[in-house]
């Protein structure tokens, strides 16, 4: 009954989406019926949430009479993984996607008060059309509630790599971010339809983009940390197509975040902002499609039959193509915004946008190039980190350099920018650069360390000369995010400049050294987990007067049969010691040891970037509420 209730709710929600789309199309001809658009959106959100709750319930009970549960869950699994199994598969993750999409539409219908009635209706219509396509995909091509007859005995289990608390919440976070951008997309489409592209649109869009961007940041940072400690290869970003799939929407959203500010404050960059909103959500769809279609093989992809792939591709062509076409038709009627000089706050933000767009284009081309080459020439090639690092590294450094001066410029024109204020950061950069010559390293890490130090100082400049308690949260948010970029850059540069690595086959009792550490291998023991067995290595690491114990494991899961490496990692103030136990070779065991100075700065910086976004979001919401209350007090 639970599964049938969930399915019925989905059908009802799909019908409501159709109704909502029809109502918004009909526009003024229906008179008072228009008022039904908002309730339809809200009810649709509630129904899909209900359907998703039903799926969670089925997984919680491990109801193996449902195909999806039987194939992706196992009665022996710990509760949290029984639940995360609900979205750790194709159908469940698509249901999650639709749930977030419908819930976002409902929230938009409830809270949006700034847009004109016409624009809001067109926006909700676009959101309904988006939801409709994905409802169709769920109900026609990937029903999560399909029954299995006869029921299976205990279910098959979840990919053991995904059995990790961080990972249980990684997909939902990313999806919330992806789909939050759907609202920006719908707002852009609505504004194009009603020809109301202006500061009001930017103010309506901003909280959604900020929220989505914060969630994407958190999702990407968490995903990167997961890949670092779970996959046991010692790196934190591999430029894997799947990582790129989540990075591309983030880059577009970052650019959008900055161009929205120009549109809201000065009314400029109208066409560009609308375009970015379309691109950002398109990138989310493309990312989801790439990851879930089985086109790219990785731990993230669920094998999908070509029909499903074609279905999503069709949706993608319809939405992205349709939005780009609408953009092309309407953009002539979008008025040019206020003019500005190149040396101005707007000018700096335009440069920021161009640089981010170049990185986005680079990643996009690099990700799809192998597929395109294979299609055209039939030759298999792969594009790896060397390409991406070489191309994006310098642009990131340029962006960092831009941050020294950009936030200090005035709007519209700044004929005599106050360059004295950047004397301190410039000095810090030069001193840091000189200091890096104490150690041999590549040019990119060297410049990265120098710019990171300077940027840390420069990011605080907007606070100079202000009363800190009276400074708005939005300014604080900007400062914290930009500081986060400096911290993350320092971590990445330090990791590539100073990492020490030792690979050895050791007998119990032997001592190895890595960086400043001496690591003694004491032997191995078998250990048992809830649904795995493992060989656990015992290491003792010493440095000066510090002694640490590390127990890396090589785990073996029976259902499905898989082997995973659980690295043992110890975090100190100045870095991480990272150890992996490999295979047995006679009486020796393969050990991989890394000493990674300040590697944690990467994720610490990521967390700061997200925190800054959150502060800015809170600041915006507070300011908007005051404004709305203020408006209502004055009888117009």
């Amino acid at each position: 009954m639970i599964a049938e209730a969930g399915l019925a709710a989905l059908w009802l929600a799909a019908a409501l989406a159709l109704l909502q789309f029809g109502l918004s199309l009909a526009g003024n001809r229906l008179g008072e019926l228009r008022a039904m658009v908002v309730p339809a959106a809200v009810l649709q959100g509630v129904l899909t949430l209900f359907a998703f709750a039903m799926l969670i319930w089925l997984f919680w009970r491990t109801d193996t009479s449902v195909v999806l549960v039987a194939a992706n869950s196992h009665s022996d699994k710990p509760l949290i993984y029984r639940l995360s199994g609900a979205w750790g598969n194709h159908e469940g993750s698509m249901l999650l996607w639709v749930t977030v999409l419908a819930a976002a539409g409902a929230l938009l219908a409830l809270v949006e008060r700034r847009l004109s009635q016409d624009s809001l209706r067109a926006t909700l219509g676009a959101q309904a059309l988006l939801a409709l396509g994905f409802f169709g995909f769920l109900l026609i091509a990937s029903n999560p509630f399909e029954r299995l007859d006869p029921a299976s005995l205990q279910g098959q289990g979840l990919n053991p790599l995904l059995q990790d608390p961080g990972l249980a919440f990684h997909p939902p976070t990313l999806y919330l971010g992806y789909v939050g951008l759907s609202v920006a997309f719908s707002l852009a489409v609505g504004a194009l339809i009603t020809r109301e592209v202006g500061p009001a649109l930017a103010r309506a869009m901003r909280p959604w983009v900020l929220g989505a961007w914060v969630l994407l940041t958190v999702g990407i940072v968490a995903g990167s940390y997961w890949a670092y400690y779970e996959l046991g290869w010692g790196g934190w970003w591999f430029w894997d197509p799947v990582e790129n799939a989540s990075l591309m929407p983030w880059l577009a959203a970052t650019a959008l975040l900055h161009s929205i500010n120009v549109l809201a404050a000065r009314g400029s960059l109208r066409a560009w902002t609308v375009m970015l909103a379309v691109v950002a959500f398109s990138m989310s769809m493309i990312g989801t499609f790439l990851v879930r279609s089985g086109i790219l093989t990785s731990v993230h992809s669920f094998a999908v039959d070509p029909t499903r792939g074609s279905f999503i591709l069709g949706l993608l062509v319809f939405y992205t193509g349709g939005a780009l076409l609408l953009f092309a038709l309407r953009i002539g009627s979008v008025r040019e915004g206020a003019r500005f000089d190149l040396v101005s706050r707007e000018g700096a933000l335009v440069v920021n946008n161009l640089l981010l767009t170049v990185i986005l284009g680079t990643v996009f081309v690099g990700t799809l190039y192998p597929v395109a080459v294979e299609a055209l020439v039939g030759e298999k090639i792969s594009i790896g980190p060397p390409y991406f690092n070489a191309v994006t590294g310098p642009i990131v450094l340029l962006l960092a350099a831009l941050l020294f001066i950009g936030p200090l410029l005035r709007w519209r024109r700044d004929s005599r920018p106050n360059l004295r204020r950047i004397a301190v950061p410039a000095l810090v950069t030069l001193v840091a650069l000189a200091a890096t010559f104490a150690a041999p390293m590549g040019i990119l890490p060297r410049l990265g360390l120098a710019f990171a130090a300077g940027l840390a100082a420069a990011s605080l400049l907007p606070l100079a000369g202000r009363k800190l308690t009276r400074t708005p949260l939005t300014i604080w948010g900007m400062v914290v995010s930009h500081l986060g970029i400096a911290v993350a850059m320092a971590g990445a540069a330090s990791d590539s400049a100073f990492t020490r690595e030792t690979l050895a086959a050791a007998r119990p009792g032997e001592t190895l050294s890595v960086g400043p550490w001496r690591v003694r291998f004491n032997g191995v023991d078998p250990v048992d987990g809830p649904n795995w067995t493992a060989i656990e290595g015992h290491l003792t690491a010493t440095r000066g007067g510090t002694t640490l114990r590390l127990d890396p494991q090589s785990r073996y899961f029976a259902a499905p049969p898989t082997e995973t490496n659980e690295a043992a990692i110890v975090t100190r103030l100045d870095g991480q010691l990272y150890t992996v136990l490999g295979h047995q070779e006679g009486d020796r065991w393969q050990l991989r040891l890394w000493w990674k100075p300040f590697v944690t700065f990467i994720w610490l910086g990521g967390a700061l970037i997200a925190l800054g976004g959150l502060m800015a979001l809170l600041g915006r919401v507070r300011r908007e509420r005051r404004r709305v209350v203020g408006l209502e007090e004055q009888p117009a």
Partner: protein, 176 residues
């Protein structure tokens, strides 16, 4: 700035994306890992006997006399059950077959061979999968043909089905 121009760029990129992806959907990639071991001598290994009273398997046992099949299997592997008839048929046609049991126990292997037939001459145990790794094998089941000089001449990934028997016999004949 020419508006039309930068309008066309995303559309072009998007069209290229749709083309590439559409092509990929119509011809999905082959996910199997191709071993680079074909044409190379078999790596040195010595696997202890998997069953009491039966010989184990070392790399030196292969490459003596004629070509032999080396089957990588496990009692816990369902496709291995599916390929059992094909292996028995190969044995009936006079192809000598040795095996390596991956992450298995003697009791389970004995049960498996009792239930599904025993076409093997030597069975080595590979309790942690190191021999499997050395052979460049990525899963079970897999079958290699090793010639009389210890060189890997052919590799079949996945279960041997009745239709593969002819190919295997032909490849085995070629390796003589």
């Amino acid at each position: 700035m020419n508006r039309r121009l930068w309008l066309a760029l995303p559309l072009l990129l998007f069209a290229a994306f749709v083309f590439a992806v559409g092509w990929r959907l119509s011809s999905p990639p082959d996910p199997t890992v191709r071993s680079r071991m074909v044409g190379r001598p078999i790596p040195a290994f010595a696997a202890a006997p998997a069953l009491a009273g039966r010989p184990g398997l070392a790399s030196t046992d292969l490459g003596q006399g004629g070509p032999r099949l080396l089957n990588i299997f496990a009692s816990w592997c369902v496709p291995c059950i599916a390929e059992a008839p094909a292996l028995l048929e190969l044995k009936r046609r006079g192809v000598p077959i040795d095996a390596i049991a991956i992450r298995d126990t003697s009791e389970d292997i004995a049960d498996f061979l009792r239930d599904h037939g025993d076409p093997f001459e030597r069975i080595g145990a590979d309790p942690v999968g190191e021999t499997q790794m050395a052979l460049g094998s990525s899963g079970v089941p897999e079958t290699f043909i090793v010639d009389g000089r210890g060189v890997i001449r052919y590799q079949h990934i996945g279960p041997l089905l009745p239709r593969d028997v002819g190919t295997m016999v032909a490849e085995w004949e070629k390796a003589r």
